[in-house]
């Protein structure tokens, strides 16, 4: 079928929903999602959303901006970080007005709590800035925004899988999608496409990400010629449930929880004397990895303990009920009296599709890619630089989701509908048929598993030239086997075997970009730690990476960082 809408938003997490809600009523907007909207991964965000409301103690947006920039290891663009921090209180009040059920403090104001890297007076002390609804903040914001979208009558196409960005040079013309329920390819004719497809944590073995996070939008933008920015910066959250990767929110430490090594020592005292367990995620994950390497993991093994036993049952059930239930269900432990085994888990991609402050995608040579926008984790504005702070993600989604909506409204009068060429979807149809026709071959998930092992071994918290080279060789040999992937499912309804093949290609190509970008950056900054180059090197490397797809393979180039208020300084906490 052919569908036609002025604006098509791909992805119905917070960024996509917020964009769609902004433009609804002014233009004809449709929302496409590979899952039903309320299943999107924003819903898994637990701890909170950052805003300098000052409800618990004096705070200011400048302090929030400083923390964001320092947290990013000075790679964030400071004009973007300023927008994020300044707009945060308005964004949170707006969510409250829409009905988000935030926890309240005794004054009846939105309750705020401590979080990693959130400080007062430019790093002097920890500060309470995280607005929250227990530890289900993402889920309740998503439900509120989704029902707002329903109220506004936004057309939703659930279980539509993105196949291709149809474009003529750097001008969007439409989309090709795969309808999971019917097994058909559809085409959307549109004047503007907003990519809000989230991250791609599924390149790693242990991740807090959902199965749907396979980087569809990021890969398809790359494939359409958009260079990807800062892809080497992958956040590993310090406290994933051991083995499973399920997230235990930083809020657990914000509420007073501490990390302990095998000897019961509160080891973060050594690594971050001021903030200790509330140091930024990259530092805490590295500290855990180091404790484990040096034999101080629990029982000499590859994990440490998160200790919440001193918080008491009341605080756990009021502030951290969700993670308490995860610990009970998946570990059979009681956080009231048991220590929780944790290890770093792949959590968030700082890099992605480069955009300007209005969400317009920057194509080759920094030119605007006409009609293409990106918001949320798939985008790289860049507010998070080399390491994102906790609670800045939900904030990024609603602040830049809204800005993207406004920008689309402003641009739309200049974006004439394009005449989509007959058979624009021919190549994707043929690609799907080719996969289905292959009689015998490797199962897609078998290759995916190998890729995840490679990435977790070669390109995780600690990196080195040798590991990255090995990783790249392995990923390229897996890429060479893509043609051998076959599906035994030849049916048309809910053939996720087939979409597994597409996702495998997206993930492998993105894994290659991560490895190339990481191999090129010969310094350590934020989440990118090179054992062979353990220092930050501002003289040579205070710049964003860009990786462009070429016939000769991924090509790396760089662009400057925008620095306005805060000059780079040593990053101690």
């Amino acid at each position: 079928m052919i569908f036609e809408h002025d604006v098509v938003v791909v992805g119905a997490g917070l960024a996509g929903l917020r964009t769609a809600v902004e433009v609804a009523g002014y233009v004809d907007v449709a929302l496409i999602s590979k899952v039903f909207p309320t299943r999107s991964h924003s819903g898994a965000a637990q701890g909170g959303i950052a805003a300098a409301l000052g409800n618990e103690e004096p705070d200011s947006w400048e302090w929030h901006m400083f923390d964001t920039v320092k947290g990013s290891d000075f790679l964030a663009d400071q004009d973007a970080a300023e927008v994020l921090a300044r707009d945060a209180p308005r964004a949170v009040y707006e969510l409250e007005h829409m009905g988000v059920p935030f926890n309240r403090n005794p004054k009846g104001l939105i309750a705020q709590r401590a979080f990693g890297g959130h400080t007062g007076e430019l790093g002097r002390r920890s500060i309470k800035r995280a607005c929250h609804a227990a530890d289900r903040t993402g889920r309740v914001i998503m439900d509120t925004l989704y029902h707002e979208a329903v109220r506004k009558g936004i057309k939703v196409y659930p279980e539509f899988h993105l196949l291709e960005l149809i474009h003529k040079e750097e001008r969007v013309e439409g989309l090709a999608v795969y309808d999971l329920a019917l097994g058909e390819v559809h085409v959307f004719k549109t004047r503007a496409v907003v990519l809000a497809t989230g991250g791609f944590g599924k390149v790693y073995k242990t991740t807090s990400n959902c199965f749907a996070n396979t980087g569809d939008g990021v890969y398809l933008a790359y494939n359409a010629g958009v260079p990807l920015q800062d892809m080497e910066f992958v956040q590993f959250h310090p406290t994933g449930i051991r083995g499973l990767g399920v997230l235990i929110s930083e809020a657990a430490r914000g509420e007073g929880g501490v990390l302990r090594n095998g000897s019961g020592e509160r080891f973060m005292e050594k690594y971050a004397p001021t903030l200790m367990d509330l140091a930024p995620r990259d530092m805490v994950s590295r500290a855990i990895a180091r404790e484990v390497r040096e034999g101080r993991g629990v029982g000499g093994q590859d994990y440490v303990h998160l200790d919440l036993t001193h918080l008491g049952i009341e605080r756990l059930s009021e502030k951290l009920p969700e993670i308490s239930s995860f610990v009970r269900i998946y570990l059979g432990l009681d956080p009231v009296k048991d220590l929780i085994p944790v290890e770093p888990t792949c959590h968030y991609m700082m890099g992605g599709i480069p955009t300007d402050l209005g969400g317009a995608v920057l194509g080759q040579s920094g030119r605007i890619f006409q009609g293409l926008y990106a918001a949320g984790e798939c985008a790289c504005v860049s507010v998070h630089g080399a390491n994102r702070l906790g609670c800045n993600s939900l904030l990024d989604l609603v602040v830049f989701g809204r800005r993207t909506g406004k920008r689309v409204l402003k641009d739309l009068p200049h974006l004439e509908p394009q005449s989509l060429a007959e058979g624009a979807d021919e190549s994707v149809r043929m690609g799907l048929d080719r996969i289905k026709e292959r009689k015998k071959g490797i199962r897609p998930r078998a290759l995916q598993k190998q890729m995840q092992e490679v990435m977790s071994t070669c390109c995780a918290v600690y990196r080195s030239e040798t590991g990255l080279t090995e990783g790249l060789d392995s990923v390229r040999s897996l890429l060479a086997r893509l043609d051998e992937v076959a599906v035994e499912n030849k049916g048309r309804r809910f053939n996720t075997d087939l979409t597994d093949c597409l996702e495998l290609e997206y993930l492998l190509r993105l894994a290659e970009v991560i490895l190339v970008s990481a191999g090129a950056r010969k310094e350590s900054r934020g989440a990118h730690f090179r054992e062979d180059f353990p220092q930050r090197d501002d003289l040579n490397w205070l710049k964003h990476s860009l990786v462009q797809k070429t016939d000769q393979g991924p090509l790396v180039s760089y662009k400057p960082v925008t620095i306005t208020r805060f000059q780079p300084e040593a990053r101690v906490y």
Partner: protein, 239 residues
């Protein structure tokens, strides 16, 4: 690792007249999720099996299905919960099966939307947040856990065998969530909308919704509180 046997309901409307069971066996640790078993079957044995899943830890609500006769999330049930015996998996009852364990949940979401699941106020929003007492915010603490997985509504005995027009437990949880949100001004109208045999009074206290809710929401209790509110507020109005 132990060998686990799973009997799974299969149905493809393109080829099958009715559903049939297929038995698979997989190696699994007692601490693994039923979802891990399904994935192992799909990824290693039979790629034609269809089910929904996403977050894998009981937050997104995608993988609701009937496991050994009770509606549950496959990612929240562990192999050891079934004592090593055969695990029987069927799609959620009450909804049309689209393929295998995938059902058409549109009717479910439509009913949730009927109750207007959003904040309704007439006063213009203040510059900052609206104030709300801590105690008031706590009243909806349990109701906001709902992840719209449909376990409760699919297993409601009233809906399956007595009155299919009954709005169902999940939409009533959302009524409760807004009724007791001190910021919402639509309370009376919300009560009026539920004051009929297909609304709150449709509930016959079977408690199945409460038993199956993966987020441990006291669903039946909340429905009974809505009934009491209807009696209190609407009768007061007519007196």
């Amino acid at each position: 690792m132990a060998e686990i046997s799973l009997r799974i309901s299969r149905f493809d409307p393109d080829v099958d007249r009715e559903s049939r069971f297929v038995t698979y066996s997989v190696q699994a640790e007692p601490t693994e999720r039923v979802l891990d078993c399904l994935n192992r079957i799909k990824w290693e044995q039979d790629g034609t099996l269809a089910y929904r899943m996403s977050c894998g830890h009981g937050v997104c609500g995608s993988d609701a299905m009937k496991i050994n006769g009770r509606c549950s999330l496959a990612c929240q049930k562990l192999v050891r919960d079934y004592d090593g015996g055969e695990i029987v998996i069927e799609p959620l009852p009450s909804y049309r099966v689209l393929k295998d364990l995938v059902v058409d949940l549109n009717p479910f979401f439509e009913r949730v939307q009927l109750i207007r699941p959003f904040l309704i106020t007439s006063a213009p929003a203040p510059e900052k947040e609206r104030k709300q007492d801590h105690e008031d915010s706590e009243k909806v603490r349990e109701a906001i856990r709902c992840i719209l997985c449909a376990c409760c509504t699919a297993s409601c005995p009233v809906l399956t065998s007595e009155n299919e027009r009954f709005i169902g437990p999940a939409p009533l949880v959302w009524v409760f969530r807004y009724l007791f949100d001190s910021r919402d001004e639509e309370g009376l109208k919300r009560l009026e909308q539920m004051d009929n045999p297909d609304g709150a009074w449709g509930c016959k206290n079977y408690f199945e919704c409460t038993r199956v809710c993966p987020k441990e929401i006291p669903v039946t209790k909340q429905i009974n509180i809505i009934k009491r509110e209807i009696q209190k507020k609407l009768q007061q109005k007519t007196d």
